[in-house]
């Protein structure tokens, strides 16, 4: 499946959350990640994030798309990040 992750967490925990997300997904812009992920990796990611955030203050949202076949992605402005298989 394909997920889009956005987070809004306290300043102290931003770096921590960022690092966890980088392991599983591709960075797109500040506080936004996206990418193809397996069910099990998704579970692991959620577990890790749960440990890192303070549930009363922070929030993380996952938009889950079973397939991106019928979706489109448009952009305005400069490209900041995103997936690439060629580096």
């Amino acid at each position: 499946m394909f997920i889009i992750l956005v987070y809004d967490v306290g300043e102290k925990r931003v770096a921590k959350v960022l690092k966890i997300c980088r392991k599983y997904l591709t960075w797109v812009q500040n506080s936004v990640f996206e990418g193809e992920i397996t069910e099990s990796a998704y579970k692991k990611l959620k577990l890790e994030l749960k440990r890192a955030i303070v549930e009363d203050e922070d929030s993380v949202i996952f938009y889950i798309l079973r397939t991106i076949k019928y979706s489109d992605r448009e952009m305005l402005g400069r490209k900041k990040g995103g997936e690439e298989i060629f580096l």
């Binding site: 980088r22 392991k23 397996t38 298989i85 580096l87």
Partner: protein
């Protein structure tokens, strides 16, 4: 699905914040470690032990290619699927001449059937390949007559030569003449594309072998030796025509790759980076294309198909089910 990453730029690849990190002159990239299955390195990349340890931990294979795109080798992490039983079985089937021949023959038969499938596609599109088709079929009929591996290899070579000569008729492109198969270094554009494609499929099959209990060091058609992995060469034979060759024919046919994409260097032909990227893009697309598999009735990708082929081989070695090579139905 985990993804393969291709690195063309030069820089430093390391472990950072528990994930993969590539720093080049103009960019910093984090590569999601949990979503990476293998890394292909074409550029000049610095690596340290800490990085290799981390890759091994995460079961990521790293394939290296040199300046001329020759396969240099792989960092094949410590086997995580360790099965002494399977290694013994592989060795048993290798040492017993009859058993080895049965498997080797099946690889050749699969390869030839898939070659014929490619030829048939172009016959249906009005290319004059009937003679070549007949010749290959005639050679195919003789596979069972041979009782030596060397002879089997030879007939396979003959068939492939005959088959490659059909590329001229299929492409009808002056810039991509086949002439004759040359390697190390390939002497013309078409040959260098074939070589590049073949080394790609060898490593792709190797990556899939890593995910099974099989040992890549023991091949059946290609003789096991002290130098290199051979099982991946065997299995790749089956998939070369339907994966690599189709990609080559499409790219040249669509003029995505043209004669301007090659450069003569003192030691041989070099494919320019842009063309390599196009090639890999098309190859990746092909590998992720899914189709309905007849036996299992599910949608599988070509990459998955390679793995299924290895599972069939495992079953054969364990005496559960006779191995028969995959033959494309289209």
């Amino acid at each position: 699905m985990k993804k393969a990453i291709y690195i063309f730029s030069s820089g430093e690849l390391k472990r950072k914040d528990n994930t993969l990190y590539l720093e080049t002159e103009d960019r910093k990239n984090y590569i999601p470690v949990e979503n990476t299955s293998e890394i292909y390195i074409f550029g000049e990349v610095n690596i340290n032990k800490r990085f290799l340890e981390f890759a091994s931990q995460n079961q990521i294979i790293i394939h290296f290619f040199n300046h001329y795109d020759y396969y240099v080798g792989s960092f094949y992490p410590r086997e995580f699927l360790n099965s002494g039983y399977m290694i013994l079985k592989q060795a048993e089937y290798y040492l017993d001449k009859e058993k080895r021949l049965t498997i080797a023959r099946e690889f050749v038969r699969g390869a030839v059937k898939n070659i014929l499938q490619v030829i048939r596609y172009y016959i249906n599109r009005g290319k004059d390949l009937v003679k070549i088709d007949e010749r290959i079929r005639e050679l195919e009929g003789r596979i069972d007559d041979f009782n030596e591996i060397d002879e089997l290899m030879a007939i396979e070579g003959n068939i492939r030569e005959c088959y490659y000569s059909s590329f001229d008729k299929i492409l009808q492109n002056q810039d991509f003449k086949f002439c004759k198969r040359t390697t190390r270094p390939p002497k013309n554009n078409l040959n260098s594309l074939i070589s590049f494609g073949n080394s790609m499929i060898y490593t792709i099959v190797l990556s899939e072998i890593y995910k099974t209990h099989l040992d890549p060091r023991i091949g059946f058609l290609h003789a096991t030796n002290f130098r290199r992995f051979t099982l991946n060469l065997d299995v790749a034979e089956i998939f070369k025509p339907i994966i690599v060759d189709r990609v080559i024919l499409t790219l040249i046919g669509r003029k995505v790759i043209t004669k301007d994409d090659f450069e003569q260097d003192s030691e041989g032909l070099i494919i320019k980076e842009k063309a390599k990227r196009e090639f890999i893009k098309e190859l990746e697309e092909k590998l992720s294309t899914t189709f309905k598999h007849r036996q299992i009735g599910k949608n599988v990708s070509y990459r998955r198909l390679i793995r299924l082929e290895l599972y069939k081989l495992e079953k054969h070695l364990m005496g559960e089910q006779e191995y028969s090579a995959f033959v494309a139905g289209w």
